[in-house]
Symmetry: C2
């Protein structure tokens, strides 16, 4: 089975310093994997000087003369950066040379370029960003995390259809439990958008379990596999959780740093705290998929280090193996046919 | 100075078992405080049997024959429960017998009743719920936390005006820093509602610092005193933070409970963890104010214990002392005049 991934090697806050070590690590872990590093050939070859030989047939370089800046406007990137590492990496997916693309670059530009080059799956209006969060049940898939800020009920429904198929494929769950993010669990709660989406979900073949509140992302009363939200709300929730985790982590550090005794106590429990911290390490949850496109694009956090970027590449590997795009396309077609015949 | 608070003694998941001990504790702490317990006289007297004498002139009972259920619809409560402990407690504020009311009852019913009885401050369209969250800078005030699910830019602006006045009064900060909750800090980010609200805030006399993201609630890159959001978004963010804190707290417990050695380590650092946990104890942040009404109403969490309910009563004491309602009314009038003359 072909397993070729194009890497936007210049993308992200750190570029090749991060993307190359992560790529090499993935090649070492998976003998079936082929990676195409896209970027400035000279820079990449320099960075690879001592190691490239190890994987010579599985590590290719594709030159690209430009680079999309992290704060560049999506429309400008689309217009002026036709030979950017990002664009060329996506082109490789479009023309079938790669099965997926991974980039830590500018989210807006990546989304706009991916949409322009790869096009949408018929029946889907807008792409959505899906990722996973750690939870007391393992983890939860959540979409949309910020691609769409003014969603209709129909958009939320489409997100649920695509998300269900992704979760089904990557988690091997037959009927993923779908929750709709709201500010209460009672029917009367919520805004018009959410209430209308609930009706669409209730009348669908999806395993819709009803409204869930923000705490369900990490620690709800019942397990939910997929949480659907407007991109504005989903993004605020995600960032709020990041802030809470940061505050708690800072607070623990300060508490243990208080005096000699607490410092000593901190040393004693260091392995315990470390193992727990690792279990919710955001780097192990790095990588968001753009759903709704006719090709696989994985977005890594811009500030990702090599471990985090490696996680994103591994997510791409998993989604290729599980044939996620094909399954989503088929399911979207089926679910649209079902609704039209209803 | 008069400092009289009516207590919906029957409200919340636990009723008098929680509201009475909390009330007694507040009376003990503040010799100027007068509390009016509103509810079933027989039940309240029974509960008070051994203690009431201690504060006989400062602990009054006002009989109310009904009780609003936690899941009762606001409109039904408003129509059918005219002698509920909640309604009577609010009536006492309306007719001037109390300076504020505290209830742990059904949020929707409390809001609807408060709005019906007390009426809105002229110039304000909708009441908003404001509360504080712990942050790495101390704490952050946030509104709206769920009263309004489809806000216009004008509503968000009104929330900012009211919230600024509250923060100025209770925190003694001359020009509270106001942030608008969004999914990015760049101008192009956000939905139409937020972009339009940003324009109103930029052209106002408020100390508007721009967009902030979800992580600013607990741990942003810069300090912000007041964060303004649509009630849907604010509520999801609040609950998401609660879920994250719960997951981390559970995870730490499990990590320390792993084996004999980790249990021993846990014992050693128990005081350190406990003191940190206390610093972010949600019970010490209990109590949300309904802003925009012509009277002070404080909502306690429904599941509050005596410590949490005490915090809510103390918030009412503080807001009475700081004359928050009067200050907000004056400021709203001023800011409306300013905009009309502009």
């Amino acid at each position: 089975m072909s397993l070729t991934i194009s890497i936007d090697a210049m993308g992200g806050d750190h570029g090749p310093v991060v993307t190359i070590p992560a790529s090499l690590d993935c090649l070492k872990n998976n003998p079936d994997l082929i990676l195409i590093l896209v970027g400035d050939e000279t820079v990449l070859k320099q960075q690879l000087a001592n190691t490239a030989g190890d994987f010579k047939e599985r590590l290719l370089i594709q030159h690209a003369s430009q680079c999309v800046e992290m704060d560049e406007s999506p429309s400008k990137a689309l217009k002026n950066k036709k030979d950017s590492s990002m664009r060329v990496a996506i082109n490789l997916v479009h023309n079938g040379q790669a099965d997926a693309c991974v980039s830590a670059g500018n989210t807006g530009a990546l989304m706009a370029t991916a949409r322009f080059v790869l096009k949408m799956i018929p029946g889907i209006d807008r792409p959505a960003i899906i990722s996973t969060l750690p939870s007391i049940y393992g983890h939860t898939h959540v979409l949309d995390l910020g691609a769409n800020v003014d969603c209709t009920a129909e958009h939320l429904f489409q997100f649920a259809v695509m998300g269900t198929e992704l979760v089904r494929a990557v988690e091997n769950i037959e009927n993923p439990r779908v929750g709709l993010l709201n500010i209460g669990e009672e029917d009367v709660k919520g805004n018009e958008q959410v209430k209308a989406a609930a009706k669409l979900l209730e009348n669908s073949a999806l395993n819709y379990i009803g409204y869930v509140e923000g705490d369900s992302l990490n620690a709800g009363a019942v397990k939910v596999d997929l949480i659907v939200a407007d991109g504005f709300v989903g993004n605020v929730a995600l960032k709020s959780i990041e802030g809470a985790a940061k505050m708690i982590s800072n607070g623990l550090k300060m508490a243990f740093g208080k005096n000699m005794l607490t410092k000593l106590a901190g040393l004693i429990v260091y392995p315990v705290l470390k193992s727990f911290k690792q279990s919710i390490d955001p780097r192990l949850y790095n990588g968001a998929s753009f759903l709704g496109l006719r090709g696989l694009v994985i977005k890594s956090h811009g500030g990702a280090d090599a471990l985090a970027f490696k996680t994103a590449i591994q997510l791409a590997e998993l989604e290729i193996k599980k044939d996620v795009i094909k399954k989503i396309s088929e399911q979207v077609e089926k679910s649209l046919a079902l609704r039209e015949s209803a």
